[in-house]
């Protein structure tokens, strides 16, 4: 039977990468002073699994490499070896190396042998304290040295199992059966040890055998049969016809029974067939590189299945009602339909839920990043992760990674000061960078917070003037000053380091975040620290919307953005010459955006402010009132990209298809506010 092992490769890669992440996290969390055995054990287990899997699936380079790691970890686990920072760094390097090896194999590329050797040598130096060249990683030949000795005639075997051999699931009959498959077997049973019937414990074995095995048989084959029970029986094997018979069991009244090949009937299939070598067939099968899979909590799937079950029930109920419909069944129909609506909504929610991943998928790479960078920069930095279990849409998770890396690098490089400077400023020597995620309204907020030196407004301003980004007399609020760092071509670092400022600036970060429908915000205090907050929609596919009518047109306002809707009185309105209209709402003046003017709707009903409605919306801290004809229903809308199908339209974040088939534009409130300010 030959099995295509390639079918298991994808799963193997996935779990190996997961294992490597576990190892990395574990290694980073090791506290040198007080090492938790369970932590080491977890790391060891991950290495062990990768070794086992790679060996089985034929990736010998990987299994050889992991073997050395495993040995090192094993010694740490047993307490035979001290856990040192050096060893941990070597292991971390090896984790990287393994990642590269596995990626190369997955992508069907050559493994970079040089780098592998480098790491393997480092590991071996750590392991043996010597250079690797002397201790080639050869596996010791297994225990039986004399195994290849062949005897032409056969073997005499004296076999007396211990009483409790059966309790390990080993049946002497199996061994007799296997022996008989090797050659011609003559068995002589010794009943002597069998106790009285009344004392007999049927769960114990009291028989012994004298066996004569005739044939051209290698002794290792015979030994192999008894391999598992070495310690559970007395065993003596001698070449047939050899003079030394003293090791045979005490011969005494024996009942002879010749079960010649009796067992063979029971199991004719045990043959020493040549085993088909199953090689890792990485060559032919196209690797599923682009396939993006997602790991889903089984409980989510269960919910989904439940929902589908409910839906099926409702459907069958409705079809029953519909079969012979009479008006007196109208109530039944209505309740069925409302059930259907509820189930559809719940089903939709649980499907969307499947796409939700904990933000820890992104956060998990940062401990390593901070560890590596802070040692490179000679800074002492502690990374605090908060709210790692906050769930975000998979797409958001994937796209969030790069911007966050950039922000954290920036904090490390420019934010947190050198230890000496920190002490001089009266701060603790170790700086803290906090990555925090939480939900707020329909958004997820991710904050990168450091307790470093903060942004220097004067310097930012001077720099911006020097670069010609602003005029000398431009007046900027604090917020606007901070936002200068998002402008293209702005970099305050005296020289570009390889840590931050690799050519992609903060402007790219902001663009990326905005393309996700999000926004980025800076709060900073000189000498105290900087917080950069990213606001992102929870999901990019579906949202709760409020549909509004402007003439014949329908627009969708994200429900989370709406604060209230009011009828305004003429007395509340102020007109500022050349700057549009504002209205006063509880001591606050808000600009009014006339929707029909912005979107050029001709069929508008209400042109006087008192005739329509004003929807007060909040777009990332900026409030304004949208002047519309009417509010329609609230509904969940599926977002379709306008950019992909048409082009980017200012003030509009996408479009959706309404129940009647018509298209409604989804408003981008911050964009709209910007638009109205121009």
């Amino acid at each position: 039977m030959s099995i295509d092992m390639a079918q298991f490769h994808q799963v193997f890669f996935e779990e190996s990468f997961e294992g490597l992440d576990i190892m990395e996290t574990g290694l980073l969390n090791l506290d040198m002073g007080d090492v938790d055995d369970e932590d080491i054990n977890t790391i060891f287990r991950a290495a062990h699994s990768i070794k086992g899997g790679s060996g089985t699936f034929g990736f010998t380079a990987v299994s050889d490499f992991t073997h050395v790691m495993e040995t090192l970890l094993d010694e740490m686990r047993d307490g035979r070896r001290q856990v040192t920072q050096v060893a941990v760094d070597v292991l971390l390097g090896s984790v990287d190396c393994l990642k590269e090896m596995l990626t190369a194999i997955q992508d069907e590329q050559e493994i970079d042998v040089e780098s592998v050797n480098k790491y393997q040598q480092a590991l071996e130096v750590e392991l043996n304290g010597t250079d690797a060249s002397s201790t080639e990683n050869t596996v010791e030949p297994s225990d039986e040295q004399t195994s290849q000795q062949v005897n032409a005639k056969g073997w005499m075997v004296a076999f007396s199992p211990h009483a409790d051999m059966l309790k390990t699931g080993n049946d002497p009959v199996r061994m007799l059966r296997e022996l008989s498959s090797l050659g011609e077997l003559t068995t002589t049973v010794d009943f002597q040890g069998v106790p009285d019937f009344y004392e007999l414990d049927p769960e114990e074995c009291h028989l012994s055998w004298s066996l004569e095995l005739v044939g051209d048989i290698v002794i290792s084959d015979v030994n192999e049969i008894f391999d598992w029970v070495e310690d559970e029986c007395d065993l003596a094997i001698q070449p047939l016809g050899s003079p030394t018979e003293e090791q045979a069991p005490p011969s005494s009244p024996v009942a002879e029974a010749t079960i010649e090949k009796a067992a063979e009937v029971a199991n004719p299939s045990v043959e020493n067939k040549k085993t088909t070598k199953v090689k890792a067939e990485t060559s032919k099968k196209p690797a599923a590189k682009g396939s993006s899979s997602i790991r889903v909590d089984t409980s989510k799937i269960d919910t989904l299945i439940n929902m589908v079950g409910e839906l099926v029930i409702t459907q069958s109920m409705l079809s029953l009602v519909g079969e012979h419909f009479e008006m007196n069944k109208l109530d039944q129909l209505k309740s069925g339909l409302s059930q259907l609506e509820r189930h559809t909504r719940e089903l939709q929610e649980s499907v969307m839920n499947i796409r939700m991943l904990p933000i820890s998928f992104v956060f998990s790479r940062f401990p390593r990043l901070v560890h590596d960078l802070s040692s490179k920069l000679d800074k002492k930095i502690e990374l605090v992760l908060v709210g790692e279990h906050t769930e975000v849409d998979k797409t958001v998770v994937e796209l969030l990674s790069d911007p966050l890396v950039h922000l954290v690098r920036n904090s490390l490089d420019h934010g947190v000061e050198m230890p000496a400077d920190r002490v001089a400023a009266g701060k603790p020597e170790t700086g803290t960078i906090t990555l925090e995620a939480y939900h707020r309204g329909g958004n997820i907020v991710i904050e990168v917070k450091d307790d470093g030196k903060g942004l220097n407004k004067e310097m930012l301003r001077a720099k911006a003037i020097e670069k010609g980004l602003i005029g000398e007399e431009t007046i900027l609020t604090d917020k606007q000053t901070y936002e200068l760092i998002f402008m293209a071509g702005f970099s305050t670092a005296a020289e570009l380091s390889d840590i931050s400022g690799r050519g992609v600036g903060m402007d790219v970060v902001r663009r990326n975040i905005q393309s996700l429908g999000g926004n980025i915000e800076i709060i900073s205090e000189l000498g105290v620290g900087t917080t950069i907050a990213i606001h992102l929609p929870l999901t990019l596919a579906i949202m709760d919307g409020q549909s509004i009518a402007v003439g014949d047109e329908r627009f969708i306002v994200p429900l989370g953005a709406i604060i209230e809707s009011i009828n305004i009185k003429e007395s509340m309105v102020n007109r500022v010459a050349g700057r549009g209209e504002t209205f006063r709402l509880r001591d606050e003046y808000l600009p009014i955006i006339r929707m029909h003017e912005i979107f050029g709707v001709k069929t508008v009903q209400a042109t006087k402010l008192t005739e329509g409605l004003v929807v007060v919306v909040d777009g990332q801290g900026m409030r304004c009132g949208l002047f519309v004809d009417d509010l329609l229903g609230q509904q969940q809308v599926v977002i379709k990209s306008l950019e992909a199908n048409y082009r980017k339209v200012e003030g509009v974040s996408g479009a959706t298809i309404l129940g009647d088939g018509s298209v409604a534009l989804i408003l981008d409130i911050p964009g709209l506010v910007r638009l109205s300010n121009q």
Binding site: M1, S2, I3, M5, Q7, F8, H9, V11, F12, E14, E15, T42, F44, R45, H48, S49, K51, G52, G53, G55, T56, F57, G58, S63, H67, E70, T71, D74, V139, S142, L166, K167, T168, G169, N170, D171, V173, R174, R177, E178, E203, D227, W228, D231, E232, A266, N267, S269, V270, K273, T275, T276, K277, V278
Partner: protein, 120 residues
């Protein structure tokens, strides 16, 4: 045909073992660790248990010891999947009541041969 409980925390190994045994006509139930395996073993009787040794929650050796204590599992064959380096594991496994072991890395044929050996 016999029913086999295959225990491994690694999904790829579990799939490989399961696929191989199913291909040979056995019924296979998978478990992800010792705790899962013990629970499943209490719900139905298996004719053979194949378990990895290094697993979270409950390792293979403890699993074997716990299973042997159950009346249904006194005599059934239980095999450990262990690595070459794990000689001491083999001893510990035997002491816990393991029937034997299959040395990793192994190929499907070796696995099948061993299973046939113990199931007769």
């Amino acid at each position: 045909m016999a029913t086999i409980l295959a225990v491994d925390d690694s999904a790829s190994m579990r799939q490989m073992v399961s696929f191989t045994l199913k291909g040979a006509g056995y019924t296979v139930v998978e478990a992800v660790d010792g705790v899962d395996a013990l629970n499943k073993a209490k719900l139905q009787k298996f004719d053979c248990v194949v378990t990895d040794v290094n697993m979270p929650n409950k390792d293979g050796i403890t699993l074997i010891r716990d299973l042997r204590a159950l009346p249904n599992y006194k005599f059934i064959p239980m095999l450990m999947l262990t690595t070459e380096s794990g000689m001491d594991k083999k001893q510990a496994g035997k002491a816990a009541g393991a029937t034997g072991w299959i040395v990793k890395p192994f190929n499907p044929d070796q696995l099948l041969k061993t299973i046939k050996k113990v199931l007769g």
